[in-house]
């Protein structure tokens, strides 16, 4: 079923995603996973990484009106070693792509990627005719959540981050391994 065939109500349905959890998992491990996931999801620290306009909207999300910190994205970390999630805010060009990959590699596990804005998703306004824009950040690093918009509103970024939290909530040790294997670019 494509996204057009999806009923409006189902977008807001928080149960369906939780059902994706692998069936038949160990009861003991599940409760450990629950505790770990609860901690991980409520302390997602983003990396201060912004290349263009989306970065300003990301700053605006951290500002008083929208207040990122309500959902546990408490501080922006300047070092990738301390960050949990990298929000790719803005266009990635060929010269920047190796650095983005390196930043991603420097982050410690568990790490997540959010592609914010049209440029990070597909190249956006620079998809046609441009000779140096990476057409979608998933060519470089695996992406967990895509947030459309040019640039997305702060509310959209918050919604995307909440979706990421839901994704983290359903993770288990084995699903994480599987995800890493499928996201490997080696």
């Amino acid at each position: 079923m494509g996204i057009k065939g999806m009923k409006y109500e189902e977008f807001g349905d928080n149960e369906s995603l939780e059902l994706l959890r692998e069936s038949g998992s160990n009861v003991f491990l599940t409760s450990i996973d629950d505790v770990i996931n609860w901690g991980r999801k409520n302390s997602l620290w983003p990396l201060t990484f912004a290349t263009s306009c989306c970065g300003i909207e990301m700053m605006q999300t951290g500002a008083p009106r929208h207040d990122f910190a309500r959902f546990g994205m408490e501080v922006y970390r300047a070092s990738p070693r301390q960050a949990d999630v990298i929000v790719v805010a803005g266009t990635i060009v060929n010269k920047m792509a190796p650095i983005l990959k390196r930043l991603y590699d420097q982050m410690s596990e568990p790490k997540y990627v959010v592609a914010m804005g049209a440029c990070a998703i597909s190249g956006g306004p620079f998809f046609l005719n441009s000779y140096c824009v990476v057409k979608g950040v998933e060519h470089v690093i695996p992406v967990d959540v895509y947030i459309p918009g040019c640039p997305p509103r702060p509310e959209a970024l918050l919604y995307g981050m909440l979706q990421l939290q839901r994704m983290i909530e359903t993770e288990t040790i084995s699903s994480r391994k599987k995800r890493n294997a499928s996201h490997s670019y080696e």
């Binding site: 263009s52 909207e57 010269k95 390196r102």
Partner: protein, 374 residues
């Protein structure tokens, strides 16, 4: 990979080469500075750009004139209105279209609002660079109000694409005048708060006064424009010298200082916020009646020739140079962007100061990196 931090320690000079950026919170984007240090003192700075080079100039050659404004929006995203205005003014000048007063006045108000929000963001990030986290919250709180006004009228918060060749995309929202007036009233009360928290702060004054002085002679020879040059006493405001839109009808002062250090570059922007508010107040009550757009031909073709148009963005002078061969696409487009030129002076300013001062100096030049790389 080429982006390796090189540490070279020769015996006699003890010079360290440290890589700052491209991912660094104080470079405001993806600017990379290769800094040579002797102890803590900056010896030389070599800026590397191109980490956000999107090829906008080349892209412009394959699209039509009304489409170009959607790319100039994303160039200097904090002065999106002024960037668009340069394209629109150039096309209107080339086709000799008469623009009604209503459009001119609305464009001027929007440009000044745009300048205001840009300087608010400058204030917020400059304070944060120097360790004042509160500035970040204060500045961005007030900036949201301007973004609300933009959103109501144009549909976009930051990337507005409101100007188009021949006028505006749509008419202003019925609430526009009221909300702008409310905002000015609110912000006039808040601006003294800005001064209390940052301008008068002893630590801030110590860290900025006398740091990175730029003489008038150097400002001219490096081609610096905008508030950074006006802090050194160079009168370079395009709004005064070559008025476009409705700037010839309003009275405002060109903010000029003579010292040219980091503190005065900050003050030039701070005072420009007041001037912007004055400009808006003069115009907001007298928006003339009339159409919001002139009817243009469906396919805009410029006559063969070379055209140049300059506007004053929040960071300096933006020049747009177009060569047309008579087709619907330009033959060549060149932007003279203020940030690229202002970057050239960084080495001259920061040489001999401490590395912590480099952050203050780079912050006071108020870089927007996508405008630099285009």
């Amino acid at each position: 990979m080429e982006e390796k931090v090189e540490i070279i320690a020769t015996d006699e000079k003890q010079e360290f080469i440290v890589n700052m950026g491209p991912q660094h919170p104080s470079t405001h984007g993806v600017l990379r500075l290769v800094v040579s240090l002797q102890g803590e003192t900056v010896k030389n700075i070599q800026p590397h750009i191109g980490y956000i080079h999107r090829g906008i100039e080349k892209m412009c050659e394959s699209i039509t004139y009304p489409q170009i404004i959607h790319l100039t929006d994303r160039m200097d995203y904090l002065s999106a209105h002024q960037n668009n205005e340069s394209v629109c003014l150039l096309v209107e000048k080339a086709l000799e279209v008469d623009i009604p007063d209503r459009i001119k006045v609305i464009r001027t108000i929007m440009s000044e609002l745009s300048r205001l929000q840009s300087h608010q963001l400058f204030w917020a990030t400059f304070g944060m660079d120097l360790g004042g986290q509160t500035c970040y919250f204060y500045g961005l709180r007030d900036r949201e109000m301007i973004l609300d006004i933009f959103e109501e009228t144009t549909g976009g918060r930051m990337i507005v694409s409101y100007n188009c060749p021949g006028g505006l995309m749509y008419d202003i929202h019925p609430n526009f005048q009221k909300r702008v007036k409310d905002f000015i009233k609110y912000f006039r009360k808040k601006l003294p708060e800005y001064d209390t928290i940052l301008t008068g702060n002893v630590i801030f004054r110590e860290r900025t006064s006398g740091i990175g002085p730029l003489t008038l002679q150097d400002a001219i020879s490096y081609g610096i424009t905008g508030p950074s040059a006006r802090a050194s006493g160079l009168s370079c405001d395009v709004r005064k010298h070559e008025p476009y839109s409705a700037y010839d009808k309003v009275k405002f002062n060109e903010v000029l200082f003579s010292e040219g250090d980091t503190y005065h570059r900050y003050m030039a922007r701070n005072d420009e916020m007041r001037q912007s508010m004055n400009t808006i107040e003069q115009l907001i009550d007298n928006i003339p009646e009339g159409p919001y757009a002139v009817k243009m031909k469906p396919v805009i073709k410029l006559p063969e020739g070379e055209y140049f148009q300059r506007v004053e963005t929040a960071r300096g002078e933006l020049g747009l140079f177009v060569i047309s061969d008579g087709n619907k696409n330009p033959y060549r487009v060149k932007f003279r962007s203020p940030n690229f030129v202002n970057l050239g002076v960084l080495n001259h300013l920061a040489k001999g100061f401490k590395i912590a001062d480099l952050i203050a100096i780079a912050g006071s030049l108020d870089f927007v990196i996508p405008d630099m790389d285009r």
